[in-house]
């Protein structure tokens, strides 16, 4: 029987050393994916490297530079942060959807990203908010835009020995707001069948000057849909523009049939959710 170790390093350096020393070692953050996959025999780590005792890995700092989320910060902690909720309501909507209240107490944004599920709830919200990933590894730290982090189902841009340290999100400019929606059969507890994140910025006259649209669970990775954003920019975010954005999202979707949904269903609803998320983001931006 394979022997498994548990390590709880106190610093990034120690964690890097441990990861280097044992190629079979895996990072343990919230464990809500890793431990499930471990018990199902899908992952066979030789060591669990628990990063939750490393100060830089947990906690939220918010300053003029923007938001820094320690990669191992529990979802529930983020949802309880009033200022984060005010500035990034869409991001918090996404974080709040990571599993049940219990899972929220364990699951982390970093882990949600690193699990690289095409249906991960936070990915779309991070992408539309131009988040960047701070990565530590044998070669030191490097920074990567979040839309380049996931490379396929269960695959990330992390190299051997590397792990995610933190996520940075720039402060939203004036009249900018985001929104996130996901579609599940039940009211809770499901994996997204389709999801959509939208961020819009309004010019003083109320026309949309910038927008980002990302959809999830409709391709191997979350998709940043420029065409959908294009349909919004320059418009007053009226129903016609929202519908065009929705249509663009549906067109961009490349979903598959699986136990959670059909191709046709995902394509249609990707448009519906994009339209609805954009409508909410617009209302929020106007409110700001």
């Amino acid at each position: 029987m394979q022997v498994i170790r548990y390590e709880a390093p106190r610093s990034v350096t120690d964690a890097v050393r441990l990861m280097q020393a044992d190629p079979g070692a895996q990072i343990l953050a919230g464990g809500t994916d890793l431990l499930v996959q471990f018990r199902a025999g899908l992952r066979r780590p030789t060591a669990f490297i628990d990063i939750k005792r490393i100060p830089e890995l947990v906690g939220i700092t918010l300053d003029d530079g923007g938001l820094r989320l320690g990669a191992a910060t529990a979802a529930a902690v983020i949802c309880e942060h009033a200022e984060v909720k005010r500035l990034w309501p869409g991001l918090v909507e996404a974080v709040r959807l990571i599993g049940s209240t219990q899972i929220q107490g364990r699951g982390t944004v970093g882990g949600n990203l690193c699990n690289a599920s095409p249906a991960a709830d936070t990915t779309c919200a991070l992408i539309v908010n131009r988040a960047t990933c701070a990565i530590a590894g044998p070669a030191g730290e490097r920074v990567l835009p979040v839309d380049e982090f996931c490379t396929g189902p269960g695959k990330t841009a992390l190299r051997a020995g590397e792990f995610l340290v933190a996520l940075h999100i720039p402060r939203p400019g004036p009249r900018t707001a985001d929104a996130y929606l996901r579609l599940i059969p039940r009211s809770e507890m499901d994996i997204a069948v389709v999801s959509a994140g939208v961020s819009v910025t309004l010019a003083p006259d109320g026309t949309c000057s910038a927008a980002r649209v990302a959809i999830g669970a409709v391709a191997p990775t979350a998709l940043l849909v420029a065409e959908a954003a294009g349909a919004l920019v320059g418009s007053r975010l009226d129903e016609t523009a929202l519908s065009r954005a929705g249509a663009a999202a549906s067109a961009a979707a490349k979903p598959i049939d699986d136990k959670r949904g059909t191709v046709a269903y995902r394509r249609t609803t990707a448009g519906v959710l994009t339209r609805r998320a954009a409508r909410t983001a617009a209302a929020r931006a106007r409110g700001h």
Partner: protein, 766 residues
């Protein structure tokens, strides 16, 4: 009976076992351990249908810590039948379902079991059991099973009930019910609706996985601690399968974390005993959730063709139906029950109903709450809803017009006694829910349901203590508050305050034979045994009082918990239970009342549910926004738990209707074997579920108890589907009504969403 006034029955005391359950002290199947205990795990088939070429256990036995491996070679081969409460069970099927001998018949079918000093070692051992299979084509649907050149699951299975059947078939049995002249009946019909319905395989979904500990002793005796609906059923199945004398097996039931019919079958217990016998150590076995989905339960997937004809005024004149129920790997689906339940709520002069029990490469179905009835009800209640629309009649009025009453013949022959169907339909029609206007994108549906309610074998003992308190023991594990109900019955008979009664669940040594906690039978059949045992105590108390007063026992009466002396008896004051209990040892010794009985079926239970559904026309998602359940419960002994049974049954039915289903890949492997993707309703999916209890006393029970647990899962499937029809204008004939299915239908047939005005228009007509 119904006019009897009760002192304790009908009140809502805190359940006696409640304290242990809210503090975490109550012990369930997996909570029990023994010193030196081994951990057992099961080796399961990776194929849905395959011939077993060979099983090599040497490598497994060599794993450090592994002390025993068992396969079918370790249990005797048999063809005998075992009589259990609910009927003859084919022991060979039970035995081969426990340990596949020559063929595996579903993905997850047990081929071996391994016991080791640690769980990790046992898993390692299981992984090293080498099984060679000759893979066969899986038969996953009724169509595939019936196909001309279908692979045959059982080479010796000849269709029962099919005169002259000789060739092996996947159809285990054909049954038929007929009345009147169907052909002629349909000629009288002004409106005929015919549809074909499909429902998927669904699971009981109890939260506690199967678990047990077994200890085999050198004296040949075995002890089994387990979570089960029937300790005697476990004892008798273990003994029969392992070729032991029932007296050599003692089963001690733990608290049980839900069953709904799924914890009547044995899966682990005989394996644990066999492993313990081989390893000479106690063995604990606990299933994982995935195993529970892959290898236990579920209930039948079905295909039902339903044709119903009515005259212009809404009188049903003829029905014609074919029911196909999947049995899973071994014969024994509830097709026969479905056939008998289908038209049970209605007077129909002419009908013919045929039912087929079909084997497929899925787990052998287990009982699930009113087995066979919910899917049958889905079919006929949907068709009745269509008839109501074609006839422009209020759906409740249409049902009332055809509802059976006392004296009407049930479709299976005998005439009904007192029943509450009309009363509860009238209550539904009067209820504000039926009148409340609907918002846009909302729809309202109603449906009825029927279930028999079982009787069978029960025993109870009531032991009086010196201080006048008492204990009552039965052999029924308490799933939903039956101990509280039994205590109430003892209080009612003896006048002892309910908190001074200690109700208990006995093991197979300490309680008389009692059939399973199932079939809605406990409060009715076991309740009668409890009442009988309490009355036995009362008679003994009268005799003791007579002795004390030195009078003839016949002259002693019993009033309000006191023995009352005959007029003019000298210095004789009424004696309370306490007085008499205190004198027990002087007047003849301990007082123990006992009763054992076989009860006929409790008599019909009927219910009707009203469901309001709101549909998102752009995503196909729907939400139950209001739900009301009406049921004839006979007599509610502890109303809170009666309501709880109805609310829980309704919730299970709603899950069945909206999102629950087994999803199989092309190889017959279940793809959603977990609570994440097998979507049972969560708290945020449901509204409060209002219950309306109708009490039409059951003449077979001294208090009028009818049994309540199963009826409530029958109406929801159609109630939800009818609400969906009302909201979307689309008749769905296949479950579940999951968002993709609903949206696809909405987009293919762009029927405008019906508004509430149109609904009230229909109401105005009637």
């Amino acid at each position: 009976m119904s006019d009897r006034t009760f002192t304790y029955v009908g009140t809502r005391p805190v359940r006696h076992d409640g304290m242990d359950k809210v503090t975490g002290r109550a012990n369930y199947g997996a909570d029990f351990s023994l010193p030196g205990m081994l951990h057992g795990v099961v080796v399961r088939s990776p194929h849905a249908h395959a011939r077993i070429v060979s099983i090599d256990t040497h490598e497994a036995e060599a794993v450090p810590g592994v002390l025993a491996v068992v396969t079918a070679r370790d249990i005797p081969e048999t063809r005998a039948k075992l009589m259990l409460g609910e009927g003859a069970l084919d022991l060979r099927d039970i035995s081969e379902n426990l340990l596949a001998r020559t063929k595996v018949l579903y993905h997850g079918h047990t081929v071996a079991a391994v016991a080791a000093t640690t769980l990790d070692a046992a898993r390692e051992g299981a992984a090293r059991v080498k099984v060679t299979y000759e893979v066969l084509e899986p038969v996953m649907t009724i169509e595939q099973a019936l196909a001309a050149n279908a692979p045959i699951l059982h080479s010796d299975m000849i269709t029962k009930g099919q005169h002259g059947a000789k060739a092996p078939s996947n159809v285990a049995a054909r049954m038929e019910l007929k009345r009147g002249d169907v052909g002629n009946g349909f000629t009288q019909a002004d409106v005929v609706v015919e549809r074909e319905f499909r429902t998927p395989t669904v699971h009981q979904g109890y939260i506690e996985p199967h678990a047990c500990v077994a200890r085999w002793g050198e004296d040949g005796r075995a002890f089994v601690w387990c979570s089960t609906q029937g300790p005697f059923a476990v004892r008798d199945q273990c003994a029969a399968v392992l070729g032991m004398d029932a007296a050599q097996v003692k089963v001690i039931p733990s608290e049980i974390g839900g069953g709904f019919g799924g914890k009547i079958v044995v899966y682990l217990e005989p394996l644990a005993v066999a492993l313990s016998r081989k390893a000479r150590r106690p063995v604990k076995m606990v299933m994982g959730r995935e195993e529970v989905f892959r290898a236990t339960g579920p209930t039948s997937g079905t295909r039902i063709r339903m044709k119903l004809g009515a005259t212009r005024d809404g009188t049903f004149v003829a029905a014609d139906a074919s029911l196909y129920y999947e049995a899973g790997a071994y014969r024994g689906s509830p097709a026969g029950a479905g056939m008998m339940c289908l038209v049970a709520p209605y007077r129909i002069p002419n009908f013919v109903i045929e039912a087929f029990d079909v084997v497929v490469n899925k787990p052998k179905v287990a009982a699930y709450r009113a087995p066979g009835s919910p899917t049958a009800s889905f079919a006929i209640e949907s068709v009745i809803d269509e008839l109501a629309r074609e006839l422009r009649l209020d759906p409740i009025d249409l049902r009332l017009k055809n509802a059976v009453v006392e004296g009407d013949a049930a479709p299976f022959g005998p005439a009904y006694g007192p029943i509450g169907l009309k009363a509860l339909l009238e209550a539904a029609r009067r209820h504000p829910h039926w009148k409340t206007p609907l918002a846009a994108n909302q729809g309202r549906g109603v449906a009825c349901g029927f279930w028999f309610n079982a009787g069978m074998n029960s025993s109870a003992t009531v032991t009086l203590n010196m201080d006048g308190s008492a204990a009552v023991v039965t052999g029924n594990p308490d799933i939903g508050g039956t101990r509280a109900a039994q205590a109430l019955m003892v209080s009612e008979e003896l006048g002892i305050p309910v908190e001074r009664i200690r109700p208990g669940v006995g093991d197979t040594d300490s309680s008389g034979y009692t059939d399973v906690t199932g079939g809605s039978r406990v409060c009715y059949a076991t309740g009668m045994a409890v009442i009988g045992a309490a009355q036995d105590v009362r008679e003994q108390l009268r005799a003791r009082a007579a002795k004390i007063w030195n009078v003839d026992v016949a002259s002693v009466t019993w009033e309000k918990g006191h023995a009352v002396p005959p007029k003019g008896a000298e210095k004789a004051e009424p004696l309370s239970v306490n007085d008499l209990a205190a004198k027990m040892t002087h007047t003849g010794g301990p007082i123990v009342g006992r009763a054992s009985l076989y009860a006929p079926m409790a008599g019909p239970g009927f219910g009707a549910h009203i469901c309001d559904l709101e549909v998102d026309p752009e995503t196909g998602r729907s939400r139950v926004v209001r739900y009301t359940a009406f049921q004839d419960v006979g007599k509610a002994v502890h109303p809170s738990f009666v309501e709880g049974q109805i609310q829980g049954g309704a919730a299970q039915g709603i899950g069945w209707a909206l999102n629950e289903e087994y999803v199989f890949d092309k190889n017959g492997v279940m793809e959603n074997a977990g609570f994440l993707d097998y979507r049972m309703p969560v708290a945020s999916d449901l509204p409060m579920i209002e219950t309306v209890l109708i009490e039409v006393a059951n003449p077979l029970h001294p208090y009028g108890v009818r049994g309540v647990g199963e009826v409530p899962i029958v109406p929801p499937l159609a109630a939800v589907a009818n609400a969906m029809r009302d909201a979307t204008g689309i008749r769905f004939t296949e479950l579940p009504l999951s968002p993709p299915r609903v949206l696809a239908a909405l987009n293919h047939e762009p029927t405008p969403v019906r508004t509430s005005d149109e609904l009230s228009a229909v109401k105005a007509d009637s």
